[in-house]
């Protein structure tokens, strides 16, 4: 990690790792299969930063993203870690 914390940047919304035991609950709540969730790359800077805190995250882990939304105040979004690496 460099000298700045990606997770604290204004443009970056809150990223939280959904614990393994809660994953099924989340998926049934939003009524979607895991592989149909929006993706987030394994090499994404935000995931790298989360790995510094939580240790290695396997692909398929669900990340809960809480965005500041101009229409709703806050809105919740989910992404699943994909093994794809973009350059």
């Amino acid at each position: 990690m460099g000298k700045f914390n990606v997770l604290q940047h204004d443009l970056v919304p809150e990223h939280h790792v959904v614990p393994k035991k809660d994953e099924d609950k989340v998926l049934s709540e939003i009524g979607i299969a895991r592989d149909l969730l929006p993706k987030i790359s394994r090499s994404d800077p935000a995931i790298k930063a989360l790995e510094e805190i939580h240790g290695p995250l396997e692909s398929g882990t669900i990340i809960k993203i809480i965005r500041k939304s101009p229409t709703m105040g806050y809105s919740v979004y989910y992404r699943a870690i994909s093994s794809e690496v973009f350059k």
Partner: protein, 509 residues
Amino acid sequence: MPSIIFKDTKKNIQTLTKKAPVKYAVEADIKPGITEAYVTFDKKVFTYRLRISAVDEYKEDTSVILKKQTGLKTTLSVEVVEPMDPIPLSQFRKGKKKLTEFSDFEEVELPRIEVVEKTNYMDSLSSEVKEILELAKKKNVEISVSMAEELTSYKKSLKPKQFDELLMRVAKDLESKRIDPFEAVGIIAAQSIGEPGTQMTMRTFHFAGVREMNVTLGLPRLIEIVDARRIPSTPSMTVYLKPEFEKSEDIVMNVVKELENTTVIDVADIVTDITQMLLTIRPDEAKMSERLVNHSDLLDALAKMKGITVISDASNNDIVVKPQQESFKRLYQVQEQLKLLTIKGVPGIKRAIARVDQVTKSWILYTQGSNLKEVLEIDEVDANRTYTNDIIEIAQVLGIEAARNAIYNESLRTLSEQGLEVDQRHLMLVADMMTFGGSVRAVGRQGISGRKSSVLARAAFEITTKHLLRAGLLGEVDPLTGVAENIIVGQPITLGTGAVNLVYRAFSK
């Protein structure tokens, strides 16, 4: 906490990994107290970290792994060998200076910060808002946080029973305003952004003032955003300084100088002597002091160049440069290289200007050219607020969610600057769609539309023959679930009333 860095062979590291914890003999004197060592194979990026528990003098022993056969001085007790994500050499610091080159077993520091998550938004809400959200949850209705914030003012003036009634009515109204299932939101968004787009200007806009700067705006900028170009036509950064620095003009000007990429031609004249095959660099004192460059900076920069001999004349400030290979071609090449040789500054940033924000009275820097990663590393810069208009760069440095926010912000700003009002939800949909797969993808042939699963829909969009031919060769199947393909075959589309299939079950007699 100091650590050491050195170059090693892959083979040595492999044996260390296999045998750790183990003692490892190396050829340099190392101070005791070192706990970490970073290993590189190519002198550029560091890929392994050794955890060291003790540093002893070297004694011959069969259990010790030797780095070299001769000249061994110290034994390191290696506990673990950890592979890590590559760290470039420039991240290490010696004192306060960035490293550009190193000698083996040099003591350096790796500045690090503790990574912490943003605080949960729930903690920042007031207790009244939380109370309302909880009440809504109990009543089994969904209301958004902004709605709850608005309701707080009624909470005091109304009786609990009345408030419950209000809450229920709000929830009912919200429900009725929701978009219907199977509504074609994408088409509505496309039209809602497309129509105001026809009214946009093709002109580029200039910053008012003496030092003006060009920024692409209007329709060209909007196209740039949805096309997800690698580099926008006018990359530009907005750099904020940390609160303790942003009021002081001196510090601001220093940061400007630190940002601007200064080349030799900016501070000196280059005189070419063809008869003697020499190049003379004549530094311009006024320009040098304006750009905060001193003589030794110039010499340091020249030292990095290869294939030249630098002769510094002590009596005057001139620096004589002689190409090692004597030919006119080489002389010309060296001259061209000298012109563009960076003395200091951030690569990619051509110019930086500072302006005072009228409301907060603090300084904000605007740059021409963009290099987010390096600018965020500068000490005075507030790394949490600084941003760039290069969306791809944001995706690389800050992640896909930041890129999504950037797409939304940039497109909203481009439209509202022209006085056009587009509902934010349309722009959010576009931003979400572009970042769906984890990378920023363009709208259009190369991106979202080009990756539709249906052959007919793709063929109807662009390059018809290519898609049809490919589908024929590979035997693709089109399940006719989208809009375009159903129109082509003459069926009702799968939206609105077409989304419902009616099954008639006759009464059994």
